[in-house]
């Protein structure tokens, strides 16, 4: 190998990057496969060819209507939410420089749950429940931010502690509401808490938010690599850390809030998908963010399709399925990974 010019042999870097692009390509294919499965599986089995025809061929008929009107919004919603949660998790892990951080660690899902369950308790319309969830998520985000920011010197420990405490407070309010809720409403409230995509009807604005989030984060991805290595080092290397942390906080919160509003608080995706992707391609945010988005979307799509078909006609909450699939996969990879 030493006889060849450097450009031909490539370096370790080059090989690593090629592998990463292969992984991203593979995840793209996996996402497409997940979508096709989600659109074809269900009470009415529809073949993959019919699915494609319904999407792109302008087909009429019952099967095409089921694909376009019923299954597509849900399949896109879970893909987008999985993608947003995984990306938000990756961003939070950099912001808090803590591998255990997930999108909900700063209380955003807790705030959303208080809003959504409060609206459900009052028997309000689904649209109002969504609005209340989003308002609750933003409320929790602002509360945590203003408490942690306080005198302007927000350390990540303080941010983390504030978030955990606010989340605990929200958890108590949620339990209170469950305790006093009439039996007829408890079931749907519990489903909301476990994450439930059956109510997702219009995923298209969320798709826009996901694309926006990735487009905003990618130009700062190498800055994030520096921040993941320590605030002081990042500043010394010319990263405007203060601005970057605001951006991270707002972006991760927005992605999480939109996702929670759409399908409730689905756990696990945001924590584990970034780690799964790290095992495969390392911690370069330029690759990790898009790869996490695709992997999170694909995982949640598979999980949701399984959730509504495995014990059909009963539907399971998708959050339960993500954990049931994700836990063994994660433990297997962790055990196999050297270190």
């Amino acid at each position: 190998m030493s006889g060849l010019p450097r450009a031909l042999t490539g370096g370790v870097l080059h090989a690593g990057r090629r592998r990463a692009w292969l992984v991203i390509g593979g995840l793209l294919a996996l996402g497409a496969l997940a979508q096709v499965w989600a659109l074809s599986a269900g009470e009415l089995a529809i073949s993959a060819a019919e699915v494609v025809a319904a999407l792109f061929g302008g087909e009429q008929g019952m099967a095409a209507e089921v694909v376009r009107q019923l299954r597509l919004p849900r399949a896109v919603a879970v893909f987008v939410c999985g993608g947003m949660l995984a990306m938000a998790g990756a961003l939070m892990q950099v912001l808090l420089r803590n591998p255990l951080a997930d999108p909900y660690v700063l209380g955003i899902s807790g705030g959303a749950a208080v809003g959504a369950l409060g609206a459900m308790l009052l028997g309000l319309a689904p649209l109002v429940v969504d609005a209340a969830a989003f308002a609750g998520a933003l409320g929790a985000m602002l509360l945590v931010f203003s408490l942690a920011h306080g005198d302007g010197s927000w350390t990540q420990t303080r941010l983390l502690l504030t978030g955990v405490i606010v989340a605990a407070g929200c958890g108590a309010v949620v339990k209170l509401m469950l305790a006093i809720a009439p039996d007829t409403r408890v079931h749907s409230m519990l489903f909301w808490l476990m994450g439930d995509a059956s109510g997702a009807r219009n995923p298209w604005p969320a798709l826009g938010v996901m694309a926006f989030g990735l487009a905003v984060a990618l130009p700062f991805a190498r800055d994030l690599n520096m921040l993941a290595r320590g605030e002081l080092a990042a500043r010394a290397l010319g990263v405007a850390v203060g601005r970057l942390r605001y951006l991270l906080y707002v972006l991760a919160s927005l992605l999480t809030a939109v996702s929670v509003t759409l399908i409730g608080s689905v756990g696990f995706v945001g924590l584990v998908v970034p780690h799964l992707v790290r095992f495969a391609i390392g911690n370069d945010q330029r690759l990790l963010l898009p790869a996490s988005m695709l992997a999170g979307g694909a995982l949640l799509t598979f999980a949701d399709t399984a959730a509504r078909t495995v014990v059909s006609p009963m539907q399971l909450p998708v959050g339960v399925l993500t954990a049931l699939i994700g836990v063994p996969v994660f433990l297997f990879l962790l055990a196999r990974h050297p270190r």
Binding site: R6, A7, G11, V12, L13, H14, R17, Q93, R97, N98, P99, P219, R222, N225, M226, A228, R229, G230, L232, A233, R235, A236, L237, G238, V239, A240, R278, G282, N283, D284, R286, R339
Partner: protein, 257 residues
């Protein structure tokens, strides 16, 4: 710009909370010079170094990098001119040694830039210089403290700044690596770079410094050439224990009484 000192502090004074770390003093660092910050624990050496690195506002006075205040530098341009070796290297995520050294190339790349073959060559050369050429693919989380410290020095070499600011570069290093790394740094100064480093070993300071700033921990500052500052009386006063000076084969050493 070549005429201007690499680093200049004018009437600098630092306060943390209610406590004054150092009263007003000035310094100038020219290319080729090595300045050592010396003082007991908690005297404010790191705070002073961070202030000189532009990462902290001075309470009084001003710091000029290459003749310009930090406000006149973009963060990336400043990072190409001066580099900092932090006291600790906190690693939370897996990363290879090579990737960790390539961090030093960050300020040299544009917003959409990727590290190229030239950056990899620079990083590998830096690793060779700290004796870790064979470790490029190791995970930094598996390194010993001394190896990790040398990786951090390599990252600073890859950053290739004119002015190197180092916070206890000998941290975790065995004796022979202490000398090897400080020789390497001294060599960079000899080649025209400027060096400011925090050391806690008086004898290493005596061996490598051109100028010394001695903080006594009570706000007192003694700044000057090595000969002016490294005197048994001044050092004993600052460190709170009497010292005796010995000169052996042209080397100055200080030994506690």
């Amino acid at each position: 710009m070549s005429a201007a000192p690499l680093l200049e502090a004018r009437a600098l004074a630092l306060q943390v909370g209610e406590r004054w770390l150092c009263c007003e003093f000035s310094l100038q660092l020219l290319p080729g010079q090595c300045l050592v910050l010396l003082g007991p624990n908690g005297a404010g050496k790191t705070t002073l170094l961070h202030t000189l690195a532009g990462l902290r506002e001075p309470t009084v006075g001003s710091v000029l990098l290459g003749g310009l205040p930090y406000a006149g530098w973009s963060p990336a341009a400043a990072a190409r001119f001066r580099g900092l070796l932090a006291q600790q290297q906190p690693d939370h995520f897996s990363s290879t040694v090579l990737e960790t050294v390539l961090v030093g190339r960050h300020p040299h790349l544009g917003r959409w830039g990727w590290e190229g073959p030239e950056d990899e060559r620079i990083a590998r050369e830096a690793l060779e210089r700290v004796g870790l050429g064979a470790m490029a693919t190791r995970d930094v989380l598996t390194l010993s403290g001394g190896e990790r410290q040398r990786v951090a020095v390599a990252a600073l070499l890859a950053q290739a700044p004119q002015l190197l600011l180092l916070d206890e570069p000998t941290n975790h290093l065995d004796l022979h690596y202490q000398i090897a790394i400080l020789d390497l740094i001294r060599g960079l100064a000899a080649a025209g770079r400027g060096v400011v480093m925090v050391l806690h070993d008086i004898n290493l300071a005596a061996r490598y410094a051109d100028q010394v700033i001695l903080l006594d921990g009570r706000g007192g500052v003694c700044a000057g050439s090595r000969e002016e500052v490294l005197q048994a009386g001044l050092l004993g006063e600052a460190f709170g224990h009497p010292l005796r000076r010995f000169d052996v084969d042209g080397r100055t050493t200080f030994i506690p009484e």
